[in-house]
């Protein structure tokens, strides 16, 4: 995989996480700051294998946040709309 293709995937992952962080219960600003920190910490990584690993970790985080949101919503609805 070329470094250009990898770079576009990393940017796509960042955009996805940024969009998901907008409704983070702990605060959107906190999430966005942490996100930027996490990405800048790894900005000097060159090996494609390592970058792939980090992208996979990022996608795992995306799934975790989705699960968090849906569970939060389910619990709120169950508490309010069930007898």
């Amino acid at each position: 995989m070329t470094s250009l293709a990898l770079k576009s995937r990393v940017v796509e992952l960042y955009k996805n996480l940024y969009h998901m962080g907008k409704e983070y219960p702990g605060g959107a600003k906190w999430f966005h700051d942490r996100l930027k920190l996490a990405f800048t910490k790894n900005k000097d990584v060159q090996e494609p294998a390592q970058i792939e690993q980090l992208i996979a970790r990022g996608q795992f985080v995306v799934k975790e946040i989705e699960a968090l949101y849906s569970l939060r919503k389910y619990r709120a609805m169950k508490q309010r709309c069930e007898v």
């Binding site: 409704e23 939060r72 919503k73 609805m77 709309c81």
Partner: protein, 309 residues
């Protein structure tokens, strides 16, 4: 299609359907006709259902105050503060939409159309619906002032008009909206259209031959019914887990068609049937009192009259 067969086989068929008769006395054409009828009868019984039971689904969605927002009552007690507050799609409507999209993915539905009756900002919710898998969207637009006074009855009347115009086979709605909790739109619509209704659905399955099997969550437990299409469904909490609208899907949804219909084109009368007199917050919870030991607790209970003195 008449297939040529030996006279002997024809006699077997004849015996099977009409009892023993001397088949040598019959005309060959009569034997062939009987055979043809026999094959047709057997084929009918073994007919493989290739036609999906549900064809086109209309999903109603509503733009409501987001579930995570802390609701505040307006100072004049006429309603709830909605200005500048985060809005999103009603959670039960998300579940209804997810079920329709799931049915489309299982090839039991051909098209999913999202519908919303509301002010101009409802278009955002419709775009989210398109991002979550709907093919088209219909926005029946009213002014913001009118939107505050719209009731379930009016929405049901508008849905009826749309269904009659575009010929849908099912209407999926959320069981209730989290802002008014009326749960009226689905049953009113079923009554207006004279369609069967499957409310509080927690599972939807294809039952073949234009029927759908729906499991409903009711007070006593689960209730399984079979409804004939076309029908109205209202989605309950455990029907499915709605998908998240990812950024690439949101981008793709921008190309999907969103049709705008002004309310006057549908000729629906929006006169409110109810008048809100007052909206107040629930009473503030009183702090509990502490007691040092059991004796004090018992004496306090006797004081308050909960325990016979």
């Amino acid at each position: 299609m008449v297939t040529p067969v030996s006279t002997v086989t024809a006699c077997y068929f004849w015996d099977f359907f009409f009892g023993t008769l001397d088949c040598k006395k019959l005309l060959i054409s009569e034997i062939f006709l009987t055979l043809d009828a026999a094959i047709h009868m057997i084929n009918q019984r073994n007919l493989k259902i290739t036609e999906p039971s549900i064809m086109r689904i209309l999903v109603g969605v509503k733009r409501v105050v987001d579930y995570a927002v802390k609701i505040r009552v307006k100072p004049d007690r006429s309603g709830v503060v909605t200005e500048g507050v985060q809005h999103s799609m009603n959670p039960f409507d998300e579940i209804a939409l997810e079920e329709a999209v799931k049915l489309k993915e299982k090839k039991l539905a051909t098209e999913v159309v999202a519908f919303s009756l509301g002010g101009p900002k409802s278009a955002e919710v419709l775009r989210t619906a398109l991002a979550k898998g709907a093919d088209k969207a219909i926005h029946v637009q009213v002014s913001d002032a009118e939107a505050g006074k719209v009731e379930s009855f009016h929405v049901a009347k508008a849905l009826k008009k749309v269904v009659e115009l575009e010929k849908f086979d099912a209407v999926f709605l959320g069981k209730q909206a989290i802002d008014d909790d009326s749960s009226q739109t689905a049953p009113i619509l079923a009554g207006l259209l004279d369609w069967p209704q499957a409310l509080y659905a927690s599972k939807v399955e294809d039952a073949g031959n234009g029927h759908v099997k729906v499991t409903r969550e009711i007070d006593g437990g689960l209730d399984t019914i079979k409804v004939k299409t076309p029908f109205v469904l209202s989605a309950d909490l455990r029907l499915n887990e709605p998908r998240y609208a990812t950024l690439p899907n949101i981008m793709k949804a921008k190309k999907k068609p969103l049709k705008n219909i002004p309310i006057k084109d549908l000729a629906v009368d929006l006169t409110p049937q109810t008048e809100t007199i007052e909206v107040t917050e629930p009473p503030v919870r009183q702090a509990g009192g502490f007691v040092e030991d059991v004796a004090t607790l018992v004496s306090k209970l006797k004081e308050k009259g909960f325990v016979k003195a």
